[in-house]
């Protein structure tokens, strides 16, 4: 409850921080629009070479891209600050968080957010909206896909939490949290294009296949009953994965030794 009350003050504080580098903020928004357009252009170029990729046509691939991007954008909006744990450890800022009577992981997440990720989020929603119209997808399924993305953003959060928790034993020198960007690249494509071993890992170990590839495949195959069931499974897997990663975080935190900076 205490944590919920603090969300708005944290957001106000973070927005004020953005005003320090206003020019960069606008450049960032322009950059993200360019980045998203060029990402779609790359997909288009791929489809000039082939008619479909693992059974996904261009428009279906756009839906996959939109859902994966939405999930990633939600992670960036709310949980991205876990990427800064390495520097927090190095410069001793984590000590401040440890002294406060609020959950440390929550404080880390709320201490900063990715301002221009909100633009990414809007762009992902536009892509999903466009493909829903062109593919005649029912609005109910679109809403369910958005809810799914909220849950699956926990998978990205979990990956970055585990990655950043390694900073506790390396005094912030080695930090694997950036690895979440690599996993996002894999989440944008059908899971079947990767080899059997990787497919297994992405389904059962680091479940990024559930972010978009598995549910969207069922949806475009009009396997609605399986799709609805898999949505529940995907949400459950996301929550369980996140819970496990927070346990790992708490364990690793017990190994933390301050640098004294």
């Amino acid at each position: 409850m205490k944590e919920l009350k603090l969300i708005i003050p944290f957001f106000k504080y973070n927005f004020k921080r953005l005003q320090i580098y206003d020019k960069d903020f606008y450049l960032g928004i322009v950059g993200l629009i360019i980045e998203n357009i060029l990402n779609l252009l790359m997909l288009f170029f791929i489809y000039t070479l082939i008619p479909s990729l693992d059974g996904f046509t261009f428009n279906e691939m756009l839906l996959l891209y939109g859902v994966a991007s939405l999930s990633f954008a939600i992670w960036r909006c709310l949980f991205i600050n876990t990427l800064n744990v390495g520097s927090m450890v190095r410069y001793g800022r984590l000590d401040t968080f440890l002294l406060r009577p609020i959950n440390v992981l929550y404080q880390v997440m709320m201490d900063g957010f990715d301002d221009d990720a909100w633009g990414d989020l809007v762009f992902a929603l536009l892509v999903i909206g466009y493909t829903a119209v062109t593919q005649s997808i029912n609005i109910v399924w679109v809403i369910l896909l958005i809810i799914l993305s909220i849950f699956t953003s926990l998978i990205f959060a979990g990956i970055s939490i585990v990655g950043s928790s390694l900073s506790f034993i390396t005094q912030g020198i080695a930090d694997f949290s950036q690895i979440v960007y690599n996993f996002f690249q894999f989440a944008k494509y059908p899971i079947n294009i990767f080899g059997g071993g990787m497919k297994f890992v992405f389904t059962f170990v680091i479940p990024i296949g559930w972010v978009a590839a598995i549910p969207v495949k069922l949806l475009i195959n009009h396997n609605i009953r399986s799709f609805a069931f898999m949505l529940i499974v995907a949400c459950g897997i996301s929550v369980i994965f996140f819970w496990i990663t927070t346990k790992i975080w708490n364990f690793m935190l017990t190994k933390y030794v301050s640098t004294g900076s």
Binding site: I20, F25, G31, L53, I173, Q178
Partner: protein
């Protein structure tokens, strides 16, 4: 000469100090390669384009050069935000020259870490795709490719003199490189209009075309790489000088 040696060595040692990060570089590099290999194996399987493994080897090489090109934008921005740029400008050599040497050392160390892994993948999974001549060219053409990559980074970095922060301009740079560098999509497979557009811009000469020449090492290809590299380095550096001249005049240091 001593200054050059010590600056390069300093950059080299800076990277080598971060032993804990070696694993991160390996994993990042491996992930990038796995993605391009699996994706392009599927694409080439179903496309009418050339289905040989050379396109995949091309992408592995392009990813390698992308991984070792220093992201000096962050370094530049850090110097500006901390005010340390003032000290660097007081050095008895040009600040940009010092930065080039320092990042060269850093990149050489990175190359030492990533090169065996990437070449191991190429030789094990795609045997016979690289000749001895390819290996020689890989080393001979690296310095000029590095200098062009550095100059592109330097030009983008100069924007931080006006914005002080780096996130925005780095996002634009990454997006531009994604499509125009040829590191993610082989230039030869781009639609013809796009191919022409890419060939009149500098980005592919620092990444994709370098990989292309190593795959098909002919005298004509080498000259079609090196001549544009030299011309673009001069042009981009001139642009950098113009922008930074204005930038340094209006720049206010934060006090350090």
């Amino acid at each position: 000469m001593k200054f050059i040696f010590y600056s390069v060595r300093n950059g080299f040692r800076t990277f080598m100090c971060q032993k804990n990060n070696f694993m991160i570089y390996w994993i990042n590099n491996l992930f990038s390669i796995l993605l391009v290999v699996f994706l392009w194996q599927q694409i080439l399987k179903y496309s009418s384009a050339n289905q040989s493994n050379s396109q995949i080897v091309y992408l592995i090489l392009a990813q390698m050069i992308l991984a070792i090109t220093p992201e000096i934008i962050y370094r530049y921005s850090q110097l500006i935000q901390s005010g340390d740029i003032a000290y660097k400008l007081l050095l008895p050599v040009k600040f940009e020259f010092w930065l080039l040497l320092d990042t060269l050392g850093y990149s050489l160390a990175k190359l030492l870490i990533i090169f065996p892994l990437d070449m191991g993948i190429v030789f094990i999974f795609f045997p016979g795709s690289l000749s001895i001549m390819s290996g020689l060219l890989l080393l001979l053409l690296f310095p000029m490719t590095f200098v062009l990559g550095f100059t592109i980074e330097l030009l983008f970095s100069s924007v931080t003199l006006f914005t002080y922060s780096v996130w925005g301009i780095n996002t634009i740079k990454s997006a531009v490189l994604m499509v125009l560098s040829g590191a993610y999509f082989p230039v030869s497979l781009l639609p013809s209009a796009m191919k022409k557009f890419v060939s009149v811009l500098p980005f592919s000469y620092a990444y994709g075309q370098y990989a292309e020449v190593i795959i098909t090492p002919t005298v004509a290809n080498v000259s079609l790489l090196v001549i544009p590299q030299i011309i673009w380095t001069i042009i981009l550096y001139w642009f950098y000088v113009m922008i930074s001249r204005v930038g340094f005049k209006q720049f206010v240091t934060q006090g350090g």
